[in-house]
């Protein structure tokens, strides 16, 4: 069996290969997009809501509240990025209950890509919040000596982010496969259920960590501003 869906290649032309990771990612994207389109087709601004709208609004509100709690800022600006991260990973992991579905999060390429996006997003949000110098000054805080360590920390946490998600999802798949071989009756089902829980938790952890990194990049400035204002 394949450890990652990257190994399941449906079509290949030179170095361009359409593997299971991409296909199932598109499936998840399709489900999310169509679902969103269907759900938001008949939105109303009245006080009476349809169930779907109510659910979606609750979901968006929960994500928004999480963002607000972690960043201590208004969450609307981070919502598309953070929300998409969470929804993509969560739906990918939840759909593993469907037989024959491989979670794209079980591919290191996917988790690496997502971690890389976080790695890129952090400076983007940081610079957007506190400017270029303001953002890069934090790498030499508290002293310029810390610059290498800060850079290493930045890279390592990105790596950890990618590997953590990949490892958890992949291990879940692995455990299910191994248990299927050892005890084919009840344990795989339990492990699948556990896999659902793990998948959701991992989605949550990945998103929250991404958020924390972004928040740390944007909140430094706020601290400095506070210090500056107290000093003067």
């Amino acid at each position: 069996m394949e450890l990652t869906p990257d190994g399941l290649i449906y079509w290949q032309w030179k170095w361009v290969s359409i593997n299971a990771t991409l296909v199932f990612t598109w499936v998840v994207m399709g489900i999310l997009t169509v679902g969103s389109w269907l759900a938001t087709r008949n939105l109303s601004a009245h006080t009476r809501l349809s169930r779907w709208q109510n659910f979606l609004e609750s979901l968006v509100s929960v994500i928004n509240n999480q963002i607000r709690e972690v960043t201590q800022q208004e969450g609307i600006g981070y919502l598309p990025f953070i929300g998409t991260l969470f929804l993509l990973i969560a739906v990918s992991n939840l759909l593993t209950v469907v037989p024959g579905f491989y979670s794209p999060a079980g591919s290191l390429s996917t988790t690496g890509a997502l971690a890389f996006l976080v790695f890129i997003a952090v400076p983007i949000y940081g610079i957007a919040q506190q400017g270029l110098t303001g953002y890069f000054r934090q790498y030499i805080q508290p002293t310029p000596l810390m610059l290498p360590f800060n850079i290493i920390g930045e890279l390592s946490r990105t790596l950890a982010l990618a590997v953590r998600l990949f490892g958890n999802v992949m291990s879940g798949t692995m455990i299910a496969a191994i248990l299927l071989a050892i005890a084919p009756l009840f344990f795989p089902i339990l492990m699948q259920l556990l896999g659902l829980l793990t998948g959701l938790i991992q989605a949550y952890i990945f998103t929250i960590l991404a958020l924390v990194y972004i928040a740390s990049a944007t909140q430094v400035h706020e601290k400095q501003k506070t210090q500056y204002s107290t000093e003067h």
């Binding site: 990652t4 593997n19 994207m29 938001t40 390429s109 996917t110």
Partner: protein, 268 residues
Amino acid sequence: MQIDWFTFIAQIINFLVLMWLLKRFLYGPIVNHMDERARKLEQHQEDVKRKEEEAQQAKEQYEALKKELSEQHQQILDESKKEAEIYRKERLESARDEIQTLKQDWLSAFQNEKKNRFQQFYQQLAQQTLTIVRQVLKHLAHHDLEQDVINEFLSRLKKTTEEGIHSQLKVMEKMTVESSFPIDPAHREKIASQLHEITGQKPTIDFVETSDLICGIRLKTAGYKIGWNMAEYLEGLETTFHHSLTSESSEKDSKSPNEAETHDLIHP
């Protein structure tokens, strides 16, 4: 366990595409609608607040109006009471006046009635008295009295000459001598001779006996009467009666109604 770089890049692109799609189909509409709803709710709350204020104002206006109306009502009620009181007093006064007028009219009518009755009574009394006197005199009349009456008549005839009116008698050819008693021929002759003496003529003399006279005799010519009659005294008496009655009633009439009323009240 390695990274497929094509997949890596493809996943980055996929993620960005998905992010755009979700922003387009999920976050955008939902957030917009949530914002819109929040705005609507806020607006609704403002509307509610404004309407509450309006309602409060309306209530205050209504209360003020109610109070004003109540005051007006009380004022109108008071005025009505005053007017009713005035009207009542006026009516009472008018009724009193009316009663007073009626009383005056009644008193006046009563006085008139009383006066009439008195007058009637006095007239009857006078009449009765005269009748009695006439009767008495008739009964008392006798020969000697008649003789005296005739003598008196003759002396009066004689007096006409002295007063100068005998010339009026001369032109009369026919004379009538009325008497309440029969005149004997001797006296008739005496009267005739007397008249002859006065007038110088010999007129035709009719001696007539009449009940109009009371113990009296009179010479009646055209336009003139000469004689002596008891009835003349009685007529004088009657005139005196009449005069005294008339003067009494006019005196009573000249009295004011109040005096009359007072008089009546004191002597009902």
